[in-house]
C-alpha cells in the first residue's frame, strides 16, 4: 500500500475509533450522570421530600407529557423528569408533541401545552402546570389507596384554611397539605355532634375564644378513640384551651411571650425568632433542613415529662426568655432565663390512644410567613407524623421567595454600570492597543 493510502486508512480508522469510544463514554455519563447544583435555591436537585416519595413508590407510574416544539418550559420539564427517573426506575415518561399527535392528545382529553398525565394501577391524575411539588402530589394520588382527612376546628377565632388573607390566612397551608394528598376540611364543632369518624388529624390553629364544655368533650372523645391532634396556641389563646392543654400534659403559662435577642429576625422585633434547638432524633424536627421562624410565640411547659411518651422537640436558644405580654418592648433585651420549649410531641398513653403535638405559635403556618425557612416543613411534617405517615417526613422543594432575586437599579447605579461596562473597560483595551500600534509604528 502506498504511503498516501495507508495514511488515509490510518486516519480514518483512528478517527472512527475515537468517535466510537467518545460516544460510548458520552452514553455512559448520560446514564450515570453526577450533578453539582450550584443554583441559589438548588433548583435543579430533587428535594429530600421528593426523593422519599420516589424511593417508596409502591408500583410503576407512567407519565405522558404533552408539549409543543420550542416551548421554553420543555427543557426544564425534561430535566425534572430526568431527575425523577434517575431516582427511581418505577417512573417512566414519554414526551408527546401536541401539534404532531393531536389524535393521541384528544384520546387523553388534553388540549393544553405542558400538561402531564400521571397514570398508575388504573388511576389517573392530570397536572397542567407541572412542578416538582405538583408532580409528587400526583404520584401520591395515583399510588395511595386511602384518603387522609385533616379537619381544622373553626368557630372560635381559629385561623382557617379557607382564609386567603395574605397575612393571617392559612390557604397556603391548605394547598400544601393537598399537595401531600390530604383532604382538608373545616369543622365548626358547635354544629357537629362529634368529630367525624374519618378524621385522621384534627387541627386547632390558634383559637381566640373559649370553647364550650361540650366541644372540649367532643375533642377528648376523639382523642380517646385514637384520634390525633395538632394544637397551635398563641399568647391570646383563652383559659379554657390552656386548661385543656394542661389536661393533655402541657402547661401554657398565661400572658407570656418568648423573646430571643440572639435569634431575632435581623432588623425585626425580638418576638419574631428563629427556633434554635431542633431535636434531631425526632422525625418532625430532625428532617427539617432549616429552622422554623415563630412570631409572638407562647412558651410551653411539659407537666410530668416522661422520656417514653413526651418530647420537647422545639426550643429557643439559651439567650431567650419568657416575658410578660405587656412588657415585650421593655424586656426585649432583658436577662435571659434559658431555652424555652415551643414545640412538644406526645406519643399514645393509656388515657389517650392517639398522637398529639402542641406548638406555641400559630403564625408560623399563616400565609404571611409559611414560606420562611422551615415553617412549611414543620407544619406538614407534624401532620404527617400525626397521621402516622413517617415516610413523607422530609424537607420540601422551596418555593421561590418573592423579592429574593428581584432588585432595583437606581438612575445613578444604571449610569455607573453603563460607564463602567460599556465605556471605561473597553476604552482601556482600545487605549493600550493604540499605544502598542504607535510604538510599533515608531519602531
Amino acid at each position: 500500500m502506498s504511503p498516501g493510502r495507508s495514511g488515509w486508512a490510518s486516519l480514518a480508522l483512528g478517527t472512527i475509533g475515537l468517535i466510537g469510544c467518545g460516544l460510548l463514554v458520552l452514553l455512559l455519563t448520560y446514564r450515570h450522570n453526577v450533578r453539582l447544583d450550584l443554583s441559589p435555591q438548588r433548583t435543579y436537585t430533587l428535594s429530600s421530600h421528593a426523593k422519599k416519595i420516589l424511593s417508596d413508590l409502591p408500583r410503576e407510574v407512567r407519565l405522558t407529557v404533552f408539549v409543543r416544539s420550542e416551548d421554553p418550559r420543555t427543557p426544564q420539564l425534561k430535566d425534572l423528569l430526568w431527575r425523577i427517573t434517575q431516582q427511581t426506575p418505577r417512573v417512566t415518561y414519554e414526551f408527546i408533541d401536541l401539534n404532531r399527535s393531536p389524535a393521541l392528545a384528544r384520546r387523553y382529553g388534553i388540549d393544553r401545552y405542558g400538561a402531564v398525565v400521571v397514570e398508575s394501577g388504573g388511576r389517573r391524575r392530570d397536572v397542567s402546570n407541572p412542578s416538582e411539588t405538583l408532580l409528587m402530589g400526583a404520584l401520591l394520588a395515583v399510588t395511595r389507596d386511602h384518603e387522609r382527612m385533616v379537619y381544622f376546628v373553626t368557630g372560635h377565632g381559629e385561623r382557617s384554611p379557607d382564609d386567603g388573607d395574605r397575612k393571617a390566612g392559612m390557604s397556603v397551608a391548605k394547598s400544601t397539605l393537598e399537595d401531600d394528598q390530604f383532604v382538608v376540611r373545616t369543622l365548626p364543632l358547635m354544629r357537629a355532634e362529634s368529630v367525624p369518624i374519618d378524621a385522621t388529624v384534627l387541627v386547632m390553629a390558634g383559637p381566640r375564644k373559649d370553647y364550650l364544655p361540650g366541644e372540649i368533650t367532643q375533642i377528648e372523645g376523639y382523642l380517646h378513640r385514637g384520634g390525633n391532634l395538632l394544637l397551635l396556641v398563641d399568647p391570646e389563646t383563652p383559659s379554657s384551651i390552656a386548661a385543656f392543654a394542661a389536661s393533655l400534659g402541657v402547661a401554657t403559662p398565661v400572658d407570656r411571650v418568648v423573646v430571643d435577642p440572639e435569634r431575632r429576625l435581623a432588623g425585626g422585633e425580638a418576638v419574631t425568632v428563629m427556633v434554635a434547638d431542633l431535636l434531631p432524633s425526632f422525625l418532625v424536627s430532625g428532617t427539617l433542613e432549616s429552622p422554623p421562624v415563630f412570631s409572638y410565640a407562647r412558651p410551653l411547659e411539659i407537666i410530668e415529662p416522661t422520656a417514653t411518651s413526651t418530647l420537647a422537640f422545639l426550643k429557643t436558644s439559651s439567650a431567650s426568655s419568657a416575658v410578660p405580654e405587656n412588657g415585650v418592648r421593655a424586656e426585649s433585651g432583658g436577662r435571659p432565663t434559658g431555652p424555652q420549649i415551643v414545640g412538644a410531641a406526645f406519643y399514645p398513653a393509656p388515657e389517650r390512644h392517639g398522637r398529639l403535638i402542641v406548638i406555641g405559635d400559630s403564625d408560623f403556618a399563616t400565609n404571611g410567613i409559611i414560606d420562611y425557612l422551615g415553617n412549611k416543613d414543620l407544619l406538614v411534617n407534624s401532620i404527617n407524623w400525626l397521621a402516622r405517615d413517617e415516610s413523607l417526613l422530609a424537607a420540601r422543594a422551596q418555593s421561590k421567595e418573592v423579592g429574593r432575586e428581584q432588585f432595583f437599579v437606581t438612575e445613578t447605579q444604571g449610569a455607573w454600570s453603563f460607564w463602567l461596562a460599556t465605556v471605561l473597560q473597553p476604552a482601556i483595551f482600545f487605549a493600550v492597543g493604540f499605544f502598542v500600534f504607535l510604538r510599533r509604528r515608531r519602531a
Partner: protein
C-alpha cells in the same frame, strides 16, 4: 518545557501587535453594552420572580457564548493557516519540536488570550453584586462552562486552520462548524423527538445552557472534553499528514 517556551513565544507575538487589545476591547464593548441594556430590560419588565437567575442564564448563553462563537474564528484562523501561507511553518518544523508540542502550545496560548476576554466579563457580576449582593456560587459553573466551550471552539478552529492556507477560508469554515453545533436543536419542529434527543447530546448550546443555569453535570463536562479531544486529535493527524501527503 519546550511547550512552555513555545507558548511564551506565541503569547509574545499576540501582545506585540494591537490586534488582541482591539478585539478584546470590541468584545467587551459588545458584551458590556448588552449587559447594560439586558439588565435594564430585566429590571424594567421583570421576566418573572427569579430575575437575577434568568438574567445571568440569558446573558451567558445568548451574549457571552454567542459573541465567543463570532470572535474565536478571528483568532484561530491564523494559528496554522497564516504560518503556512507565510512559510514560517517550515521553520517551525525544523526545530526539534514534536507536532504535539507545537499543537498544544498554539492551543494553550490562544486559550490564555481568550481567558483575558472572559476575565473582562467578570466585571458585570461585580457591578450587580455591588448593587445587591447575591450568592456567587453559580458563577463557578457558568465560568467553567464558558472556559470549556471556549476551549472547544479553539480546538475546532485550530483543526480547520490546519487544513488550509487561506485565513478567510479557515475563519468562515470554523464559524460555520461552530454555528452548526450551536444551533443543532434550535428548530425542534424539524426533526422527530427521538432524533432531537440524539442531537441535543451533540449540541454545544444544550450543554453550555446547563452550565449557565449554575449546574455542573458530569455529562456536559465529558461532552466538552471529548469535543476538545477529538478536534485536537484531528489537528495532530492533519499536521502529521504532511509527511505522507507531501504538503507543508
Amino acid at each position: 518545557m519546550k511547550t512552555v517556551a513555545l507558548i511564551r513565544k506565541e503569547l509574545a507575538s499576540y501582545f506585540a501587535g494591537p490586534l488582541v487589545y482591539v478585539v478584546v476591547g470590541a468584545f467587551l464593548l459588545a458584551t458590556g453594552y448588552r449587559f447594560y441594556t439586558t439588565l435594564n430590560s430585566y429590571v424594567t419588565f421583570g421576566f418573572g420572580i427569579n430575575i437575577l437567575e434568568n438574567f445571568w442564564q440569558d446573558f451567558f448563553v445568548n451574549h457571552i457564548g454567542f459573541y465567543l462563537l463570532i470572535v474565536v474564528p478571528l483568532f484561530t484562523m491564523r494559528l496554522i493557516a497564516e504560518e503556512r501561507r507565510l512559510g514560517t511553518i517550515e521553520l517551525l518544523y525544523t526545530y526539534p519540536l514534536r507536532d504535539t508540542e507545537i499543537m498544544l502550545a498554539k492551543f494553550a496560548a490562544c486559550l490564555l488570550i481568550f481567558l483575558l476576554f472572559l476575565a473582562g466579563t467578570a466585571l458585570y457580576p461585580a457591578i450587580v453584586y455591588a448593587i445587591q449582593p447575591f450568592d456567587p456560587s453559580p458563577f463557578l459553573a457558568r465560568y467553567l462552562g464558558a472556559v470549556l466551550f471556549l476551549a472547544s471552539c479553539i480546538a475546532c478552529g485550530l483543526f480547520v486552520s490546519s487544513l488550509t492556507d487561506s485565513q478567510v477560508v479557515a475563519s468562515s469554515c470554523t464559524f460555520v462548524v461552530l454555528l452548526l453545533f450551536w444551533i443543532l436543536t434550535w428548530n425542534e419542529a424539524a426533526v422527530s423527538s427521538t432524533f432531537l434527543t440524539v442531537l441535543s447530546q451533540l449540541s454545544t448550546f444544550d450543554h453550555f445552557f446547563s452550565f449557565a443555569r449554575g449546574v455542573i453535570d458530569l455529562k456536559d463536562v465529558t461532552y466538552f472534553v471529548l469535543f476538545i479531544g477529538l478536534f485536537l486529535f484531528l489537528t495532530l493527524r492533519s499536521m502529521e499528514s504532511r509527511r505522507w501527503r507531501g504538503r507543508r
